[in-house]
Amino acid sequence: MTPLKDDDFKKIERALADAHRSRQTPQLGADWSFRVLRDIRREAGGQGQSMRSLGLDRLVWRTAAVAAVLALVFTGSVFLYTKGEAVDLTALLSGEFDATVPLE
């Protein structure tokens, strides 16, 4: 057997590369373009739906954050305004608890 030399390999590789480059490019017709565009429209529809649900999610979380801040502000203001009347408030609450005792 004749061993292949580096030059032999290079020659075969060059022939294979030429064969590779001379491949005919197939023509894709109008039907193909139509199908691609149809799938893209479908993708766009899916993306639109997911965008809408993403928008709803964002709205829920933003509302939750605003509600949490408002609750904190309200609690803080209640605490500040009722600071001097803590005893009264306790009394009020205890009175309320007393009021929950079942009536006979």
Binding site: M1, K11, E13, A15, H20, R21, R23, T25, L28, S33
Partner: protein, 214 residues
């Protein structure tokens, strides 16, 4: 070519117009005018088909090119316009071809798939003395089939790198950019893939000689 020379060149002006047109179309598509994407398909269909045709079997070109455009559309918002759209699309095309081979079970063609004509093709190539004789051999069906047989034995990574660097003639840096891999990775793989191809051809030649002697 220096910029001031290019500025007056009609081809350069044409390319610039095309690039700005692309950006305008992309902007409109992203604003919901999806049908404008058809213009990009019409403009780059040939370019994508040419790339895909070099990497996947002829009967799968339409399907893979289809995937390329759908992928381009879904990632259009990530297009930064730092490179021309054509180049950005080329990267998607090459990576889609890579995914095609990665997800496909490797179907190694047996040696028996090659006929005696394939077997003697290498001898004819080596014996070719003139350029005409050489070209005649490289145009033969056996050349393409032998190449497909050899590529069928390679992994998706080796196959893509071998095709880009050794068959298409891209530089290691260009291939790395298209594949999104490091230059070192492509360099190592290109060398390894070429050695594998040579081993396959050598085995093929040995079997051919054994058959001839037997």
């Amino acid at each position: 070519m220096p910029g001031h020379v290019l500025a007056g060149c009609p081809d350069f002006i044409g390319v610039q117009t095309l690039v700005s047109d692309d950006l305008e179309i992309i902007r409109r598509v992203l604003h919901g005018e999806i049908d404008r994407f058809a213009e990009l398909i019409a403009r780059y269909q040939q370019h994508v088909t040419r790339i895909v045709n070099r990497h996947v079997p002829s009967d799968r070109v339409a399907e893979v090119a289809h995937d390329v455009f759908v992928r381009a559309y879904t990632s259009l918002s990530s297009f930064s316009a730092q490179t021309p759209f054509e180049h950005w699309l080329s990267r998607i095309a090459v990576r889609t071809c890579y995914d095609f081979w990665r997800t496909r079970r490797r179907e190694e063609l047996p040696v028996s798939a090659l006929t005696t004509e394939h077997q003697s093709w290498m001898d004819h190539v080596l014996a070719a003395e003139s350029d005409d004789q050489f070209r005649e051999q490289s145009r033969k069906r056996e050349a393409a089939e032998l190449l497909q047989w050899a590529l069928g034995h390679l992994s998706a990574e080796n196959r893509l790198v071998l095709t880009l660097v050794h068959l298409d003639g891209y530089s290691v840096r260009e291939a790395a950019d298209l594949l999104g891999w490091s230059v070192v990775n492509v360099k190592v793989r290109a060398h390894r893939a070429r050695q594998l191809l040579r081993t396959l051809l050598l085995e093929r030649k040995r079997q051919e000689d054994d058959t001839a002697q037997g």
